[in-house]
Amino acid sequence: MSEAEAYSYDADMRKANRKQAVEGRSVIFKIKRCDGPGKSTRWESFKIPIETGANVISSLNWIAANPVTVEGTKTTPVVWDSSCLEEVCGACTMVINGRVRQSCSCLIDEYAPKDGDVMTLEPMSKFPVIRDLWVDRQRLFSNLTRVKGWVPIDGTYNMGAGPKESHEQQQMRYALSECMSCGCCLEACPQFTKEEDESQWDSSFVGAHAISQARYFNEHETGKQLKDERMDALSGAGGINDCGNAQNCVKVCPKGIPLTESIGAIGRSATMHAIKQFFQGKK
């Protein structure tokens, strides 16, 4: 079902790079740094000896132990966010050589095979920077609450077991369930722009991840109880209609989630929702 398109861009080149990676080389890491929220940014470069199988996180660990730039100036260790180190938590997402991806699964051999090659690391541009490569993804989670991305089970009585689900439906929803809220789809989306003012979040574009999660829960036999409320939110300002169909989201999704199919499906639900509201809505 999920046709993994993740990083398909330049995939052949990266595979070729891995084969010709030079042992014992050093790579320059050019990192966009920022000391704190609202502070100015600057670039700093570090020369790092590459071990077999090194990735961006192991390289950042090396910098933390040796925080000295290529000019020989001692600086502060570079700050980044990470947790699982196996590309399932989404915390270490950053912009590497101009494109967004997880840094833990980013092998140096694929990007910088020769001595003196340069790797560029930047924080995601759509979220406020906390420090260096560490960003605050609160808006991403706030948008999930906007579309009520959950199954309503709390109540005053036991609702019993949920209805049965067909195998096909399970397969479809499994692909959607793989979302780890990393933010790649938002970083690559031309319609999802940085919004500093928190009061504007609820009327700014909600993003592919939230649209896909709304579909995930709309298709759940118990979760569909909140479908009308989800569609109310998604029909409004910043909802499904703000999608510009650039379809970058599905290209950069590390889990190969069919995000553009979710956008089409929620578009259909929004059309049906509007017709239903027009003929039988009470508002």
């Binding site: 494109r99 722009t193 409004g236 209609n241 510009g244 970058n248 199919e261 509007a274």
Partner: protein, 281 residues
């Protein structure tokens, strides 16, 4: 949620979907009709019904186009149709610019086909507004000061005056005229792309195409329609830009002469055929 917020949400949805719809009906449908009509200058030679003694391929094309223009000009409530189109184009343009400004292109980092089409959809939209305004202002509203050579388009001399407006004079290309012809070529190309790509994305917006294979299939159909319309658009512009003014004028005068002749013979037919009050003017 307050009542106000609900009505805002409904209005947002309605405006967005009307924006999508207006690009197809009436604007897109009109674009198809308009290009089919205008391309008769290239393929009207096939039309044997306008044939006369001594007529070649291009004479028949000129006559066919003239018949089409006269037919449109005699449509009942034409001004109402025009105002509907102008309003729809204005609505689609204003909202389109507003929506386009909410995004921030990133084709530099993400060079995917879809992303390039996203950027191109916005660029062609901006350029298309500019082109349509020039096109309608000069040829419909009579802003001849914007036409190099200052030719005014006339319903009775549809081919010849349009050719002169594209070429910059009544005897072949001038330098500025050539620029106008190039501007037309780019303008129609931009609008055809904008329509075909818009048709593809509208199917996702409305939820008609959901699965990726469906989006791809519909994309191939939109590309096919776009290629066909692009061909019609190009032969229209090339046809008029290379048209001989004097030849066109001769054919048109001949047709006008017939109308006058019929006017004398059979006043009833002439009214339905020409509908012009001042045939000599």
């Amino acid at each position: 949620m307050s009542e106000n917020a609900d009505s805002m949400q409904n209005r947002h949805f309605l405006l967005r979907r009307l924006h999508s719809l207006s690009g197809i009906v009436p604007v897109g449908v009109f674009l198809i009709v308009h290009l089919v009509t205008n391309s008769t200058i290239a393929w009207g030679g096939l039309n044997s019904r306008v044939d006369q003694e001594g007529f070649g391929w291009f004479d028949r094309s000129i006559a066919t186009f003239q018949h089409e223009v006269s037919f449109i000009n005699n449509m009942p409530l034409l001004l109402l149709i025009e105002i509907t189109l102008w309003s729809a184009i204005g609505f689609h343009s204003i909202l389109g610019v507003y929506y386009a400004m909410s995004g921030k292109g990133n084709t530099g980092s993400y060079k995917y086909g879809g992303n390039l089409r996203y950027a191109l959809q916005r660029t062609t939209g901006y350029f298309g507004i500019f082109f349509i305004f020039y096109h309608v202002a000069t040829l419909r509203w009579g802003w001849t000061w914007l036409v190099p050579g200052g030719v005014e388009w006339s319903h009775e001399h549809a081919s010849s005056t349009f050719a002169a407006a594209l070429q910059g004079s009544t005897d072949g290309f001038t330098a500025v005229g050539f620029l106008v012809a190039c501007f037309y070529f780019l303008g129609v190309s931009a609008l055809v792309f904008h329509f075909a790509n818009g048709l593809w994305s509208a199917a996702i917006t409305w939820g008609i195409t959901v699965s990726r294979p469906a989006q791809k299939r519909w994309g191939i159909m939109c590309a096919g329609l776009g290629a066909g319309l692009m061909f019609l658009a190009w032969v229209s512009v090339i046809g008029f830009a290379t048209l001989d003014y004097d030849q066109a004028r001769e054919v048109e005068d001949q047709l006008l002469g017939e109308s006058i002749h019929m006017n004398v013979d059979d006043a009833h037919d002439a009214v339905t055929l020409t509908g012009h009050d001042d045939i000599d003017g």
